[in-house]
């Protein structure tokens, strides 16, 4: 109950900050790209609209997690409102988890709204919203679950700016994990291989959540892969939130 109250408050705060104006920017981007690029796409307009739509939903969501999430805890620390909250019967875990759920709820609503605009853009270009797109969007939500837990983890012990930088770094490294593995094999250096292997188990493998290409080309998406990605996302986020709680408990507020 207390967690939900914090989550609701975080969501309201994001809405008050006009975060959903980004959805309008997204819609504008989709419509303008469909109109401006259509003469140049020669035969691939629907693919381009689908690619741009799905990728933009992912990018915009990451941006919101980065910008909103990085200040979520530290803003309250700076304003000293955190002391008022934590002086009440609210545990530090409840506080962090509430913030996490609130941000995730904001992202979820945002992805939902952008998905509706995406479906409309597809219909406008003579295409239709297929089931694989739903898989792709669903996995984007799970990916954001992980990225949000990363942002909460860093914001539990460091400043807003560093949280943004570290989260962006983890996001990029997580996205490029398969490339890092290939890089380690190519170098043949045992130290690099050891470091990469270590990173492989520490960093989130965000490539697992990327089925955009399969969705756009109508390729079969293995339901077992989707299920595994969801389980992985939940476990990774849970572990990171528990670690964040450990670190947040040690933090002192003056």
């Amino acid at each position: 109950m207390r967690i939900l109250a914090i989550a609701r408050n975080t969501f309201r705060e994001a809405v008050r900050d006009r975060i959903f104006a980004l959805v309008a920017v997204f819609g504008l981007l989709l419509v303008s790209s469909s109109i401006i690029l259509s003469p140049l796409t020669i035969g691939a307009q629907q693919k381009l609209v689908a690619d741009i739509g799905l990728a933009s939903i992912s990018v915009f969501s990451v941006l919101v997690v980065l910008f909103v999430g990085s200040g979520l805890v530290n803003k309250e620390v700076d304003k000293r409102t955190i002391m008022t909250i934590l002086s009440k019967p609210v545990s530090r875990f409840e506080y962090l988890f509430g913030k996490y759920l609130g941000l995730l709820g904001t992202i979820g609503v945002m992805i939902g709204a952008m998905s509706v605009l995406f479906a409309l853009a597809l219909l406008a270009t003579g295409s239709s919203f297929e089931l694989p797109y739903l898989f792709s969007l669903g996995l984007t939500v799970v990916e954001m679950m992980v990225v949000t837990s990363v942002v909460i983890f860093f914001s539990s012990f460091t400043s807003s700016v560093l949280t943004s930088i570290f989260t962006l770094g983890v996001f990029l490294a997580g996205r490029m994990l398969p490339d890092l593995e290939r890089f380690a094999i190519v170098t043949g250096n045992p130290d690099v291989e050891l470091t990469t292997n270590l990173l492989k188990y520490v960093l989130p493998n965000l490539d697992l959540f990327d089925v955009r290409n399969a969705a756009v080309h109508g390729l079969p998406i293995d339901p077992a892969h989707v299920a595994w990605a969801v389980v992985y996302g939940i476990i990774y986020s849970a572990v990171l939130l528990l670690l964040a709680d450990r670190l947040f408990r040690r933090r002192e507020f003056k």
Binding site: I42, K47, L63, G71, K75, L172, H217
Partner: protein, 252 residues
Amino acid sequence: MRALTRSMLTPRMLTPLMLLLALSLGWVAGEAGQRARDSRSLVADDDVAYLPTAAAIRFMSAGYDDVAADILWLRTVTYYGEWRQGDHGIEFFRELSRRVVELDPHFVEAYRFSALVLADDLGAFDDGIDILRRGMQVMPDTWWLPFEAGFLEYTVRLDNEKAARWFRIAASKPDAPDRAKNFAAFVTSRAGDLKVSLELWKFVANTTKNPEVRIKAEAYIEELQAAVDGTGPVPEWVTRRRIIGGRSDGDV
């Protein structure tokens, strides 16, 4: 300074910041485009001359390789269009199209268009077939790619035997339409007939979503139709290809 950074990162500032960023990017892109157009005669295809490898683009795109492929596809199409307008050569088309399919190996339209341009416009027939083979390795069940190979063998290289073989492969694919199956039979029984060539171009014109291919197909259809009806001569390109392809007179 810390307070300033903090205030810059508040969500309230996010939307105007992003809009400002988008406008700035738009302005920079516009300026860069204008400069590129102004200096086209000097550095017509500078940007494509220094094209990074697909692995490098994939790494830089941070997992958004499909969008990178789309951007490169748009550049490939404009590069082709600029060549058609006589702005520059077309020597980098091969590399551009290869990068597109390396970044997005399921991009069927890119394979088809690239193969046609490579074989027909650049005269690099083997490269055209190679790019289609690459696509067939990734998408072994797609009938379009072997069909395109058969089409190019029949209409560009004028090798009926190979064309028939490709058409048979296309016809054996699970999603092949009856029309594709008909061509396998046509080419085997009426090899070298101008009418088969005409039908193939008509089929391509009616099925392609690519306006560049349609324009090309319609031009060929007009010439072939006149030759078939006896109201015009056998097109010059047919005669030229007969000599190169070594096909006997009367064959296409």
